[in-house]
């Protein structure tokens, strides 16, 4: 693989200092209005919770922890926050 392609692939999920990039994610839980215990669990996985809308949690997590979050029994879905465009 050429260097430029390799460099791009390696840098995709890392920040400037080479650490895993923080991803903003929307997560649905199997419980609505998560209690302290659930929030503690999410924190242990590495999710820093920013907001809660019923059973939807919005937060950020290091790219290398995303799979662990998806696999947790408390979690239904994980959706990466997507950048939208203006419609003009």
């Amino acid at each position: 693989m050429t260097n430029s392609l390799k460099k791009f692939l390696e840098s995709r999920d890392k920040d400037k200092d080479g650490r895993p990039k923080k991803l903003k994610v929307l997560v649905t839980l199997k419980v609505s209005h998560p209690d302290k215990k659930s929030l503690k669990r999410l924190k242990e996985i590495g999710l820093s919770v920013e907001d809660i809308i019923d059973h939807i949690v919005i937060g950020s997590i290091a790219a290398d922890k995303e799979e662990a979050l998806k696999a947790d029994p408390l979690v239904s879905e994980v959706e990466r926050s997507q950048k939208l465009d203006f419609t003009s």
Binding site: M1, T2, S4, L5, K7, F8, L9, S11, R12, K24, V25, L26, V27, T28, E50, D51, I53, D54, I56, I58, S76, E77, E79, S81, Q82, K83, L84, D85, F86, T87, S88
Partner: protein
Amino acid sequence: MNDKISSKIDPLLLLGVERADKEDIKSLRAVKDKLPSVKSLHPGIQSLQRNMSETNLKRFLRTDKVSVMVATTDNKSVAKVVADNKGTYNELTSNKMLIRIPRAALMNLAQCAEISYVEASTRLELHCDAAHRSTGLIVNNQRTVPQTGKGVLVGIIDSGIDTNHEAFKKDGKTRIVEYWDQIRNRRYKSDQIDQGKATESPDTVGHGTHVAGIAAGNGSGSEGNIYQGVAPEADLAVVKTTMETGDIAKAIKDIFKLADKRKQPCVINLSLGGHFGGHDGTTIAERAIDQLSGPGKLVVVSAGNENQKPIHAGTILPKEQPEPVRWVADFELRPGKYDGQVLGYMALQVWYHHEDDLTVQLRSPNGELFTAPMGIEKDQYHVSVKHEKAHYSNDNVVTIQVITLPLPQLLSGWSLIVTESTPGGVRVGSVHAWILSRSFGRFTGGNSTSCLVGMPGTAYSAITVASYATRKEWDSQSLTDLHMNLEAMNLEDISYFSSEGPTRDGQNKPEIAAPGQYLISTLSSAAPPMELPMEYRVKDINYVALQGTSMAAPYVTGALALLLEKDGTIDWSEAKRRLIKSARLDTHSGPCWNPRWGYGKIDVEKLLTIEPT
């Protein structure tokens, strides 16, 4: 007509006289053509001469009474003539009167010896924005509805706002109750905005300021407030967003919470969109909108501008065929700069029904086939193909990513191949593929113009808005194009860019069409000419002409603010019902619902007369 008498009448009024005499559009058009060259006329008449379409002429014909200013030598004698002709009057000075009189009686007025000239009063000049005339919000230069958005909170989640623009102030104080800059993580309350602190968070794009002006600007800074928004007395809550769906969901929650605190109904505008997810309202971000919407809490979203953009391919596979069914969609990559490197990058998703048993493959330009799950790294490109079951709908989604060196032989010649995996595997057969951003590239085969409404416009609760054209001319600030005239545009017709529905699961979206091409609205002083070129900036004032479903959505947002002023408990389903019931159909829209127009054109006047269920 006697020339001596007609010379006493303002040419603008002369059109009306001809109408009263002949009731004939063709002869009225002939009179219009006889008027002096446009540039020597009063601006109001210039506007009339340029913009008078057949529709406008018909509207002009329907006007029963006109307001005129007259210069008199004897007010009393004139008053008698006015009374005899079933008119009313106000004496302005000893030799000037404001008269309202049936148009057909104008000649009688002109024949009065005590009158030296009959002039169109300023209210007769076509000084409202073309959009408002189209939607019935303004007829004869007067608002047709008493509502102004007072007591309603209008939320704008966008590129920010020019907090100094006069259109967002009342009596010198800001109408913005809160401004949250998500990028710098700063919040400004109204008193801080008045102290000038929010100028640290300028709208350097100009999109949000324009959008806010359409929904709720008061027109300040434009002559006679002609570029007033739909709900000019609504309060505003503005979020300068990062554009990420997670932050947008947070902003919606935040604005609705503010509305609760202020005990106000609220409508939020989202003039933005994207093409990831199933296009069926089931992304988490869209379900968050459904969760947050409710009585007195509405969300309006632009349909998108992808109508002529080949970012969607789709088909319905035939069932029960003797041979396995196969469908191919070709695509090409557009080179771009990613993390500082020039590469070809493509991300697309293929969606098909959970009952179908299909195989999705990617074929490279040199004929290699890739099937999920797969991650391949070659010398010159990287490919990943991933198959998943969408959690909420249980439908199948295959996500494909291609990263290549920007070599011509690797940018084109890629294909998606969908085949029936087992005999009888096609049960529903609907297959859709979306390129996640139009900057990545395009489909060159298998294109489909349907299902182009972006997310979050596909959210169930969202009121999704298409765009139609109401303006094609303005005087600009450009040194080379003083008068912009986009002659090819068909006024009142659907905008060429307005994304077509329905959603992948068959929801009727967009729901409504509103003026979005071109709308003149507030110009952010921080937006550089690179963002908003001079030819789109309106001469002498801080207003700019822009187009997009981005402009159509805030028109509906403003209209719903008027509706919420009338009844603050309306929820999204009732709001949709009233929009649908009041929608206007014409020769352009044809029968509705249809995927371009939704249920038709918004009719603001009628919207506010629809009774609750």
